[in-house]
Structure formats: structure tokens, C-alpha cells
Symmetry: C2
Subunit: 193 residues, 2 copies
């Protein structure tokens, strides 16, 4: 279930905490690479610097699957899947590992795109800062049920059920500077959101 | 822009940090109530207890709007809107304020649902723990652009553009214990995901 959740998301929330105990939570693009999570950081960000220094972190991915409409506000809730990973990140410093992790990240976010792209330049790899968070301490929470109203409420004339939430991609939009005659690749039609 | 982002989301990520500087990030349902954020906590959770005690927190909402497909991995990115609010929560202890906040929360998550629901019982209000986070210190980040490839890359025979991500509700699903003859209410068709 952990891998299923991690592999279904594209953006997670990564936290750090300063010396006063003030947490900061930022959205990051990520991919699971076997037993570690690859996170893309922006060079020079405070978050990345403190995480690369080994500060304890928490990485959480949440997928919202639907709304659960019960007969009372108290029992109304949501369907969701959430994964939390605790640990410390390591900066991927080696160029070869950076290149491989960049491919894993790109292929997770945009499957089959890597082969189409102009290959990374040496200077781009040098400017790319990726973090790896080992998947060692983690927890998962899943809510996938139906309304659980009290027996007295079930007979009330109030509709109850689930409204599923779907995440889908719309039609590809050409870049304004796209060269004439180029069509969106077929593989984008198979991407799941 | 802050209010637009907060009002468009249903789930945010709320953080706390323990005495060792270990952050924890949990998904929570929320609603904006004027200049504060109402957060629904589960009674007895460690997160809620430490937040109700005034621990510094960070609340982040992220809306993923699409994938930006450039000609290189380096320039590939995402369209997103994110809001981060820093501060300390207060436990809503008063029953009247809890009831009003519960209505705000329910009406944000499920607009027009409140009037249909069986009204909250006194014991339910007593068991509901809501937190309020004042919106005082905050920041917003928006990425809504197009691929920004280097001039040398624009002429390559690689499609570039944006794949918009849409969040939509599917058809309502009846609860297994739904009384015969009840239909999903019309208002759910107008909910935006």
C-alpha cells in the first residue's frame, strides 16, 4: 500500500523545522526509487540547505479520493490515502547518480518522456540538486469506506453516499513557441493523473 | 490570490515539530473563515494536542494544475498554486463557536449540504475539536507559465506544451444502507473539485 500511494502521486509535502521549532512545509515533485524517495529541490533554498545538512524531515503524500456524505456533519468525511515517511535526506552529490535520479524522477512524473527529451547537459546536471530520503520509518492511513451513521439516522430522509473525486488530464496545449507541424506525443494520453 | 487558493482546496497539510526538531505533517480537512483557517482535528491525536497547546505550526495548501513539458528535463516543471500560513492555532473551546465553525467547514467542503443534514447533537459538538489558525503570516507561490526552453532547444523536433490537470467529481454512489427512493441532491452536481 505504501508503494501504491507513493507511486500514484506527483507532489508531496516536505517539512523542516528551524531552531525555534517552527516547521515549514513545502510542496515538492518526487518519485519513488526502490527504497528511497527522490525529491527535487531548488538550489539555494533554505529548505534544501537544511535538509541536505541532515535535519530530520517528514515527507507526506496525500491522495484525495472522494467525499463521504453522511446524514450528519459529525459522520461526514473523506476518502483518502496518505503516506508519511520520516527520516533524514541525503544530497545526491555524484553526477552519475544525479543523472540516474533525474531520469527516475522524470519518468515517474512524465512516463516515456525521457527518451524524447534533449539529453541533459553537464552544466544542467551540476545545477540540479536532488535529495534522497530513505524509506525506513513510515506510516500509511487509508479511508475508503461509506457513511457510518447511527442507526437512528439511517432512516432519515437524507441522501447519503460517496462522491468520488477523479483527477484527469485535459487536452494537451501547445507551447506558444512550438515549431510548426509538431503534434503532442501519444504517450501523454496514457498518463494517469 | 491567497484567499482564492485557500478557498479552492479541501485538504491541507498541517505540521508540528517535537522537541527534537522532528517535524510531522498530516493532511487535514479545512475551511477559510474570514481571516482564520478552521482545521478539523481528531480528538486525542498527538498533533492536535501539541497544536492546541500553541506550538508553532505551518499549514500548506497546494493545488496541482498541470504538467509543463519542455524540450529538456531541466526545464520541465509543473503548474501549481501553493499557499503557506505560519502561526499558532487556538482550540475552539466554546460550543457556539464550535457549531458555527463546523457549519463553515461543512459548507466549504460540501456547499449547501448543511441545511439537509440532521442537526448536530450536543454530545457531537462536545466531541468535535476544531482548531483556528489566524491568517497573519503567509506566502503564496504560483507557477502558471509555459515551457521556457533555451533558444537552441526551441527548434528541436520535440513537442512542448502544457498538460492541464483537472479535478472533477464522478457520479454519486449511494450508501449501501440508503433508504429506498432517495436520490442524490442536485447541489452535488455544482460542486467543484
Amino acid at each position: 500500500m505504501l508503494d501504491t500511494i507513493l507511486d500514484a502521486g506527483r507532489v508531496g509535502h516536505l517539512a523542516t523545522s528551524d531552531e525555534d521549532g517552527q516547521p515549514y512545509v513545502l510542496p515538492v515533485a518526487y518519485a519513488r526509487d526502490h527504497d528511497r524517495i527522490i525529491v527535487h529541490g531548488s538550489t539555494g533554498s533554505r529548505l534544501l540547505r537544511s535538509l541536505a545538512a541532515g535535519q530530520p524531515t517528514c515527507f507526506t503524500v496525500t491522495l484525495l479520493d472522494g467525499l463521504v456524505l453522511a446524514r450528519s456533519a459529525f459522520e461526514s468525511s473523506m476518502r483518502y490515502r496518505s503516506a508519511m515517511v520520516l527520516g533524514s535526506c541525503q544530497l545526491i552529490a555524484d553526477d552519475d547518480d544525479t543523472l540516474r535520479a533525474l531520469e527516475v524522477l522524470t519518468e515517474h512524473l512524465m512516463p516515456r518522456r525521457w527518451a524524447d527529451l534533449r539529453p541533459p547537459l553537464r552544466k544542467e546536471i551540476a545545477a540540479t540538486r536532488l535529495l534522497a530520503l530513505p524509506i525506513a520509518e513510515w506510516s500509511v492511513k487509508v479511508s475508503d469506506g461509506w457513511p457510518e451513521d447511527e442507526p437512528d439516522d439511517v432512516g432519515l430522509p437524507i441522501w447519503a453516499g460517496v462522491l468520488p473525486l477523479q483527477h484527469v488530464f485535459g487536452a494537451p496545449m501547445n507551447a506558444p513557441d512550438l515549431a510548426a507541424g509538431l503534434q503532442p506525443p501519444d504517450y501523454v494520453r496514457h498518463w494517469s493523473a
